[in-house]
């Protein structure tokens, strides 16, 4: 039976319900928030304001996307999940080097050591101290996705190493993979690497590509069978049209409706109602879905984007070894 691994345990994929595919619910004090103070999302109470609203709007599952050592706090995510009833998937993996202090262990560690850390997060439980050392104290909350990132078109050596470790961890555990692209660039290069490493592309989600809203680029990527995550629906300036909306409609029309997922990627306080910002986490369900319907997407199309696509791509595959 396909399952998703949430911080409170494995759930049947058919029970995941309406899902957001790339979220930031908690970002604890870290080098990330030292660089970008507005990224500090450290309050369970404030997060619960928006997650409860997401739940009230019909949402059921959130895939968080902060990997090891970047301000991840799985204990807080578990608490949000308990309080609101929403399922939360927490990643392992590593982000771009720029989100870590110079000299971070991620740069020195070998591929195999890195893969071992990822696998332990997935199979044993995520470290309460988020691999910030010196001791590892594993919680009962396991990682359910592996997050990797590239910062430009062609992956750097370090980024290739992280992707290779992610592939090893995928083969060992069956966990799905979520990637960051910088402004949507480098998706084809990422998936060529995954192909070489034998990762099934139906369990790889490439994020933020709607920031490069060229339909031909998206058709080329989608023709490989990989999933794309769009999350800029609320970011486009008002009045100029919405390229994310146009892209969703175009890709559904092109036959790729089973390969698109949506998220908010609301990594700044200013986007959260709980932190007195807007539009709030429920934006996609309360405001964007009606616009998708106006644009002639059917209920079945929308169900795929929010329910069956995430259930399928974020479910674990059978481990290889």
């Amino acid at each position: 039976m396909p399952f998703l691994r949430t911080v409170l345990g494995d759930i049947d994929a058919t029970q995941a319900g309406i899902c957001y595919a790339h979220e930031h619910l908690i970002i604890d004090p870290s080098f990330t928030t030292y660089l970008y103070p507005d990224f500090l999302l450290d309050s369970v109470e404030r997060a619960c304001v928006d997650v409860a609203d997401f739940y009230a709007a019909g949402g059921r599952t959130l895939v968080d996307s902060m990997p090891c050592g970047g301000g991840r706090n799985v204990v807080k995510l578990a608490e949000i999940s308990r309080r609101t009833g929403a399922n939360i998937v927490c990643p392992t993996g590593l982000h771009l080097t720029k989100y870590y202090a110079p000299g971070h262990w991620g740069e020195r560690i070998t591929v195999d050591e890195l893969a071992t850390l990822f696998v332990a997060d997935i199979e044993q439980g995520i470290d309460a101290a988020d691999y910030n050392g010196p001791e590892i104290s594993r919680t009962a909350h396991k990682a359910g996705v592996i997050k990797v990132a590239t910062g430009q078109k062609n992956p750097r050596a370090h980024e290739r190493k992280v992707i290779e470790a992610a592939a090893i961890a995928h083969h060992q555990t069956g966990a799905p993979i979520l990637t960051h692209t910088e402004q949507g660039a480098g998706a084809l290069e990422q998936l060529q690497l995954f192909r070489e490493l034998g990762v099934p592309l139906a369990h790889v989600v490439i994020s933020h590509t709607d920031r490069a809203p060229d339909p031909a680029y998206h058709r080329e990527i989608l023709s490989t069978g990989v999933l794309l995550e769009y999350d800029s629906a609320f970011r486009w300036p008002a009045g100029d049209g919405n390229p994310t909306l146009d892209l969703v409609v175009a890709m559904v029309k092109a036959g790729f409706g089973s390969q698109i997922v949506l998220g908010m990627d609301a990594a700044r306080r200013k986007y959260w109602k709980g932190y007195d910002g807007k539009p709030g986490l429920a934006f996609l369900l309360r405001e964007f879905v009606p616009r998708l319907k106006e644009a002639a997407l059917t209920s079945a199309d929308i169900e795929k984007i929010f329910v069956s696509n995430p259930a399928s791509c974020y479910s674990f595959t059978a481990p290889k070894n």
Binding site: P200, L222, T224
Partner: protein, 442 residues
């Protein structure tokens, strides 16, 4: 680079020798040379490309048919399309029948693209060289003899790739082959032709269905002799030029206890003449009955008649209809095929049978390794398959995937001093993936 022997020697020597420069052979030569082998590509005509440049103008098989188009062939095939794109000489086109999106190109430019890719990879080329004989010793091909304008020439090689389409090398080497039409049906032959000065907008006012109805009505009225009632025409990158796939010529016959197919010199001679006769008859029909064709004119026949199947080797594994229709995956697959079984059989229609939506059958390396001969791969339409399975996997994109696999494998065999059956498949798989080949569905 000169390859022909000087007067002091009667032979030339290479690591990998590829016979036939169609989509499979040209790709195989590029792959072998890129993998580091001293490679020779031999071709019977005066240009490269085989069916891709002599007969057709559309690569099918890159994409799966169905609701979403999954791209299932990559690697060198992508370089070919990119090369065409640099001349502005290709376009993607949804298939008239639903075989998946095709890539239609100007075949004159493709001749140059093949030449450029083969030469840039470092492979030597010998045009106007036709394989006549294979010398075999202790189960290994030692050399091929080719006919040239200056007589016969011996080509010595360490590993050979039979990409002749008709399995000429395998046949001459004594590898077991099956003959299409002998026990199962065989696909018909087609002379393609291109027409210019077509009013494309007017032509498009007639649906595919109506086009076929008019063709059938014209044939039944007795005014036109049109053996195939479901022939097609399609737009090309050249404004006002349409290309056709309409004629249907018998590809085999049994008479007086003798079985002949399209490797028989007499049958082939008659077929070429009959194909062009039919083409003119279809043209007469188009001009008279189809809007947009009234002021059109014939610009070219295919350089030779199009041959869909003749000989196929018996390989280590023979792909079957069951394998195709259940989208079977193989441990040693070197490519993918999502195309339906497309059977151009006797009679006026064409039969189509689809795989499960969005799925692909794997092309196993074992189907490219003929029985009995040690240092030989095949690539292209002479690979090991039943008539039905072949009718799915023979598209040119799959031929390129097979060519890349066979060329890479042959070069690895030479480098590692291994026979094809002893090659560690993981090495080949990694090399193919590194080079952009697509070996599994998402």
């Amino acid at each position: 680079m000169d390859v022909f022997p000087s007067s002091s020697s009667d032979s030339i020597e290479f690591d990998v020798v590829v016979a036939g420069s169609g989509s499979a052979g040209a790709t195989a030569a590029i792959a072998a040379a890129r993998t580091g082998a001293k490679t020779l590509l031999i071709e019977r005509f005066g240009f490269l490309g085989g069916t891709s440049t002599a007969v057709l103008d559309t690569f099918y098989g890159f994409y799966t048919p169905g609701l979403r188009s999954l791209k299932v062939v990559g690697g060198i095939a992508d370089d070919v399309v990119k090369g065409l794109g640099e001349y502005g000489a290709c376009m993607e086109r949804p298939n008239t029948y639903g075989a998946g999106t095709g890539v239609t190109y100007n075949s004159e430019y493709l001749k140059v693209v093949w030449e450029r890719l083969v030469q840039e990879a470092g492979a030597a080329v010998l045009l106007y060289a036709w394989v006549q004989e294979a010398a075999v010793s202790a189960g290994k091909i030692v050399s091929l003899t080719v006919a040239t304008k200056q007589g016969l020439c011996k080509i010595i090689g360490k590993c050979f790739i039979d990409a002749t389409g008709d399995a000429d090398v395998s046949y001459f080497a004594g590898a077991p082959c099956e003959i299409a039409g002998e026990h199962e049906p065989a696909q018909m032959l087609t002379t393609t032709f291109k027409v210019v000065n077509v009013d494309v907008a007017q032509r498009k006012s007639v649906s595919k269905q109506e086009f076929h109805q008019r063709m059938a009505a014209a044939a039944e009225s007795g005014r036109f002799q049109l053996p195939r009632r479901e022939g097609s025409d399609h737009v090309t990158p050249i404004k006002s030029m349409m290309a056709t796939n309409m004629t249907r010529v018998q590809s085999f016959e049994s008479s007086g206890g003798k079985f002949r197919n399209a490797t028989d010199p007499d049958l082939l001679t008659r077929a070429e003449i009959e194909g062009r006769r039919q083409a003119l008859e279809y043209l007469r029909f188009l001009k008279a009955e189809i809007p947009g064709y009234a002021g059109s004119e014939l610009v070219a026949f295919g350089t030779s008649i199009g041959v869909r199947e003749t000989r196929r080797v018996h390989g280590e594994l023979r792909v079957t209809k069951q394998d195709v229709l259940t989208a079977r995956q193989f441990d040693d697959q070197v490519g993918l095929c999502g195309a339906p079984i497309e059977d151009h059989h006797e009679g006026s229609d064409t039969k189509w049978q689809y795989l499960p939506d969005g799925q692909c059958v794997g092309i196993p390396l074992r189907s490219l390794i003929p029985q009995k001969i040690e240092n030989l791969f095949v690539a292209g339409r002479c690979f090991s398959a039943t008539h039905d399975a072949h009718a799915s996997i023979r598209s040119m994109a799959q031929c390129m995937a097979m060519g890349q696999a066979a060329g890479t494998a042959a070069a690895l065999c030479v480098r590692l001093k291994r026979a094809p059956r002893e090659l560690d498949f993981a090495l080949l798989r990694d090399a193919l993936l590194k080079a952009g080949a697509i070996l599994s569905t998402p």
